[in-house]
């Protein structure tokens, strides 16, 4: 069986909710699928909901960083939302700070971050342009 994490298109955005205990190949497939869909749909933003993930290890952290970097080059912004507190604590202790990955507490905040960016109100670093 070919396992895949579904990517939903909503307007100018792509939404991904990771609800399975991810193995490495699944993470790599998602990375490929997402870049493909960004180009095909000309999406302006990608929202990745990880609220169901019970852990993020260095491999998944690297995948999130890669997706953020690749989408940025393809003119789309990535926001990772819903990280559990225990996961955040563990990630930092592991030595991973997810530099370059924009995060928001929940889907709503993540969406408004993406919308602000599409309206041209924020630059690539999340700062408001004047």
């Amino acid at each position: 069986m070919l396992e895949r994490i579904p990517i939903l298109k909503m307007g100018a955005y792509l939404l991904v909710t990771i609800q399975v205990d991810m193995h490495d190949q699944l993470a790599l497939t998602l990375q490929d699928d997402l870049t493909d869909r960004i180009v095909k749909t000309r999406a302006k933003g990608v929202l990745i909901d990880i609220s169901s993930l019970e852990l993020v290890d260095s491999f998944m952290g690297r995948m999130l960083g890669n997706i953020a970097a690749m989408s940025h080059i393809l003119d789309a912004e990535t926001v990772v939302v819903g990280m559990r507190p225990a996961v955040a604590i563990t990630l930092v202790e592991l030595g991973l700070s997810l530099k370059g990955v924009k995060t928001a507490l929940n889907v709503e905040k993540g969406m408004s971050l993406l919308e602000d960016r599409v309206r041209g109100r924020v630059d690539g670093n999340g700062r408001f342009e004047r």
Binding site: D21, V56, D57, S58, R62, R84, T90, L94, G95
Partner: protein, 135 residues
């Protein structure tokens, strides 16, 4: 110190890495570890199991429930018969990698442990023991 229970799992594939962390989670919950402690154990299990599969060419994981003076602990023993680690200090250093990872797996897992041991002999294999006691 007494071993209350133990379980052996094969580590050969990506799916085995997922099964290893699920088994570690189940054991940590059974021993009454807090959610943050469980997450640390499971994350270390994932890193070290991946190392065994990728760098060790596969091996085994033994998960032990421990009791020491009424204190509960969980031990993860990873063993492979792979190429071994020539320089353990270097392998533990953040950012050092021979694969295409971030080089955080071994050093990061050590930070998530209370006790951490590595024994390795080039050409013979590697044994990593991760122990965490309930806080």
């Amino acid at each position: 110190m007494a071993v209350l229970n133990d379980e052996t799992l094969p580590l050969r594939s990506n799916e085995d890495v997922v099964r290893a962390r699920q088994a570690a989670r189940k054991c940590a919950i059974g021993l009454g570890f807090s959610l943050v402690e469980q997450t640390k154990i499971v994350t270390a299990a994932s890193e070290l199991a991946r190392n065994t599969v990728i760098h060790g060419g596969g091996g085994t994981l033994v998960i032990e429930s421990l009791n020491h003076d009424d204190r509960r602990g969980l031990r993860l023993k990873f063993e492979d018969q792979g190429p071994g680690i020539a320089n353990i200090d270097q392998a533990l250093r953040d950012g050092y990698t021979t694969g295409n990872g971030l080089g955080l797996g071994l050093g990061g897992s050590k930070r998530l442990a209370n006790e951490f041991e590595i024994q390795s002999e080039p050409g013979k294999g590697t044994r990593v023991v991760f122990t965490r006691w309930r806080g």
